[in-house]
């Protein structure tokens, strides 16, 4: 007999095999998931979930697809949370401190409670990346928030109503576009191609018979 545990989906009890994730346990229980399920492998943030173990006080947040069930788990999924995205024309922005002040001024209402960090399903230092954003240290904010998958668990818990993942996206886009140094070899190659430097060579290789291509391929030199 499989090892079974009792879990409570939205308050209703189900017995499920102990080695399942919350997501597969819901399916085992008979749910056909539409919301709250995207990549199933920890990358998309669709499956934000909040739970409490029976008899314990602490509320925990997690990803349903990456978290194993436990005995006495009371589970509620958070398939949508009204985070508040501001729209902008990225080409008109400047990577300076004012940009956060203008687009996400609520970050300055952070009370430093650290609930966001505690809630983060990726174990990021969320309060810290918000602090970087406040100070206009966009690159640091971008680095610190890089592994954010946008599940929104932090925002659910924030008393200041901050939409953390969206602050991170803005910081990363500004960093990638304006702060990171330009890749000259890339710019050069795009220019060469636009000037037609490879047109003839590519035509030639496209015309070669398969046997010759096989020769070329099997004997090509491979960079160490």
């Amino acid at each position: 007999m499989e090892n079974m545990v009792n879990v409570y989906f939205f308050g209703k009890r189900y017995q499920v095999p102990a080695d399942l994730t919350i997501m597969t346990a819901m399916e085992y229980a008979g749910y056909t998931l539409k919301r709250g399920c995207g990549c199933r492998h920890g990358f998309c943030g669709a499956c934000a979930t909040i739970y409490r173990i029976k008899g314990q006080n602490e509320l925990k947040t997690c990803l349903a697809c990456q978290t194993q069930v436990q005995e006495g788990m009371y589970v509620a999924s958070i398939p949508f949370f009204p985070t508040d995205k501001r729209t902008y024309e990225i080409n008109d922005l400047k990577a300076d401190q004012r940009v956060m002040m203008e687009l996400y001024p609520e970050i300055y209402s952070c009370i430093g409670c650290n609930a966001c960090t505690n809630a983060c399903t990726q174990n990021l230092n969320v309060m810290q990346y918000i602090a970087y954003a406040q100070r206009g240290e966009l690159e640091k904010c971008a680095e610190e928030s890089f592994d954010c998958i946008g599940c929104g668990c932090c925002s659910v818990r924030c008393p200041a109503g901050i939409s953390h993942p969206l602050v991170g996206v803005l910081a990363r886009r500004l960093t990638g576009k304006y702060i990171a140094p330009e890749s000259e070899h890339l710019t050069n190659r795009v220019d060469e191609i636009n000037k037609g430097a490879y047109d003839e060579l590519i035509e030639q290789i496209m015309q070669k018979p398969i046997t010759e291509m096989q020769e070329l391929y099997n004997h090509r030199d491979i960079e160490k």
């Binding site: 080695d19 399942l20 994730t21 399916e27 085992y28 008979g30 056909t32 998931l33 539409k34 919301r35 995207g38 990549c39 199933r40 492998h41 920890g42 990358f43 998309c44 669709a46 990456q66 978290t67 194993q68 995205k85 729209t87 902008y88 990225i90 990726q122 174990n123 890089f146 592994d147 946008g150 996206v169 990363r172 886009r173 960093t175 990638g176 576009k177 990171a180 140094p181 890749s183 000259e184 070899h185 890339l186 710019t187 190659r189 795009v190 191609i193 636009n194 490879y198 060579l201 590519i202 290789i205 496209m206 291509m213 096989q214 070329l216 391929y217 099997n218 090509r220 491979i222 960079e223």
Partner: protein, 533 residues
């Protein structure tokens, strides 16, 4: 949290590690690869395939599950939809909210078209979001688009369509530039040089990455841009059938609200199918690395409307899917783990192959190790071989894993496995659909003049196997192209009267072929609830 037997085997892996360091295992010869593939690659297992009985690819084979869907009925034979009640009326309809669809939507919008996107789950709940390893482009001095062409053509078994592959490699550097300008944070050194590595089958280091969140970083940037542009995105809404007109053009699509089961009608002058892959069809019972919505819908609705498929019989099994623990069975272990130096090792501690052979060869080799040779490690759900991850830290220095593949580290730590200290168990997972709907060099299907396809739903760009990093590339290159081409085309299209005649004639053909079924397609979502399985 390995079992005692696994721990015993780990000891053997550790025992040979020092002598394996710095010794590159031999690469297989072309003949060895050929015979290995024929004997062990799932594409060669006859019982995994069935013949398509009707339509443009009649007489050809496809994976059984896909053939089954092509032989199923349209929902709209039962559920009648009033096409005169148009809910959306646009120039360009993009079906699918992954990387290809988002790139297309952005470029169509940039070109001034009235564009909308419909997507089954949320925008970004897509295979694109999950790509870890990276994206290829020949932008370094020792590399060239021609070299890239050669690698991709050979890696795809010389079957790629030259006009498609040409576009892929020639527009690759510009795709990277475009993403960079949108704000994608590529890995660069202090001077701005892209950090590039090898991937299986590359002859130059041209894999660009954003840590091991390459796809996520690209996808969330594209999503942010789509939203900034206020392009309408209708989520939890699937296209279930294309609509045509009496001129043989496509005229839009019938949509299904996944939550309310209401049908909606979208009229469009051009339609872009960007619905991605098919991993959730679980061909030959393989687990999959794909997202929940990867059910080949675009192939089914395109085929029913008369667009042919190409290379629908070739599937990519990624050599390194998680074999253990069971909770993450089938999840991807990025190829970058091998690019960074981890070797493939059998249960006796032997490096049985070069870690960077192409994917099909690697997958077949692992399957051989676990079957014929009996050198796999038993797991609760099957078996697997070791990927010797501690080597990465020995080669690249302590901290390399955390810095370069944090997503992998995190995924395993969740289950008490520290890949910096212990190797991990892997087995091939169903990863990518090499084939799909056939398009010409401009991105249009060959039979329907205003229907485009982009991304994983296309067949022919890569041939019969795809190299790592060329798919993220193709969704950007062909996504952008499709957006521009669709916006331009929309200016000339005069739509006739919308109809669904093609679904009725398809049903007739099915009947004539003696196929009677209760099943409906496209599938939309896999049946995972216990009572549906």
């Amino acid at each position: 949290m390995f079992t005692p037997d696994m721990l015993e085997s780990i000891k053997k892996v550790e025992a040979t590690r020092a002598e394996r360091m710095g010794v590159e295992p031999r690469r297989m010869t072309a003949e060895e690869k050929d015979s290995l593939l024929k004997a062990f690659h799932p594409d060669y297992r006859a019982d995994g395939f069935a013949e398509i009985q009707i339509g443009p690819n009649k007489g050809q084979k496809a994976p059984k599950e896909l053939t089954g869907l092509l032989h199923s009925n349209s929902r709209l034979l039962q559920d009648k939809v009033d096409l005169s009640k148009v809910d959306y009326d646009v120039d360009v309809l993009v079906i699918g909210g992954g990387g290809a669809g988002s790139s297309a939507a952005i470029e169509a919008h940039e070109a001034g078209a009235n564009v909308m996107m419909v997507t089954k789950l949320r925008i970004g709940d897509a295979n694109t979001m999950m790509a870890e390893g990276g994206i290829q482009a020949a932008d370094k001095e020792n590399d060239s688009p021609v070299q890239h062409y050669l690698d991709a053509f050979g890696g795809g078994h010389f079957a790629a369509r030259p006009e498609l592959l040409r576009r892929l490699v020639m527009e690759a550097p510009d795709a990277i530039r475009w993403l960079n300008e949108l704000g994608v944070m590529f890995d660069k050194d202090e001077d701005g040089r892209m950090v590039t590595t090898h991937g299986g089958g590359t002859s130059r280091k041209r894999m660009h990455a954003c840590k091991d969140y390459s796809g996520a970083e690209i996808m969330r940037t594209l999503r942010d841009e789509v939203l900034n542009r206020k392009i309408p995105v209708v989520e939890f809404t699937s296209a279930v059938e294309l609509i045509k007109d009496e001129k043989g053009q496509v005229a839009g699509a019938v949509l299904l609200n996944m939550e309310t089961d209401d049908y909606l009608v979208a009229r469009a002058k051009t339609v872009i199918i960007a619905t991605g892959g098919a991993g959730r069809l679980h061909y030959q019972n393989f687990p999959t690395s794909n997202h929940y919505g990867a059910t080949a819908d675009g192939l089914v609705l395109g085929y029913r409307a008369g667009a042919p498929l190409l290379y629908q019989d070739t599937i990519q099994y990624h050599p390194t899917g998680v074999a253990y623990p069971s909770q993450i069975f089938g999840a991807l272990v990025t190829e970058k783990v091998r690019s960074l130096g981890a070797m493939l090792i059998n249960k006796d501690g032997e490096a049985f192959m070069h870690p960077l052979e192409t994917r099909d060869v690697s997958a077949a080799s692992i399957i051989r190790e676990c079957s014929e040779r009996g050198k796999g490690v038993d797991t609760p759900l099957g078996s697997g071989v070791w990927l010797d991850t501690p080597m990465i830290e020995m080669i690249g220095g302590e901290g390399t894993i955390e810095k370069r593949i944090p997503a992998m580290l995190r995924m395993y730590l969740n289950y008490g496995i520290d890949m910096r200290k212990q190797p991990i168990l892997i087995y091939p997972t169903l990863h990518y659909q090499n084939g799909g709907l056939e398009i010409g060099g401009e991105g249009f299907t060959k039979t329907i003049p205003n229907l485009l396809v982009a991304g994983e739903a296309v067949g022919g760009i890569h041939g019969r196997n795809r190299l790592m990093g060329n798919s993220l590339l193709d969704i950007i290159v062909f996504g952008r192209n499709a957006g521009k081409a669709a916006a331009a085309k929309a200016k000339d299209v005069e739509l006739g009267t919308m109809n669904l005649d093609h679904i009725y004639s398809y049903a007739e053909e099915l009947k004539a072929a003696g196929i009677e079924t209760e099943e409906v397609s496209p599938l939309l979502l896999p049946k995972y609830a216990r009572h549906e399985r």
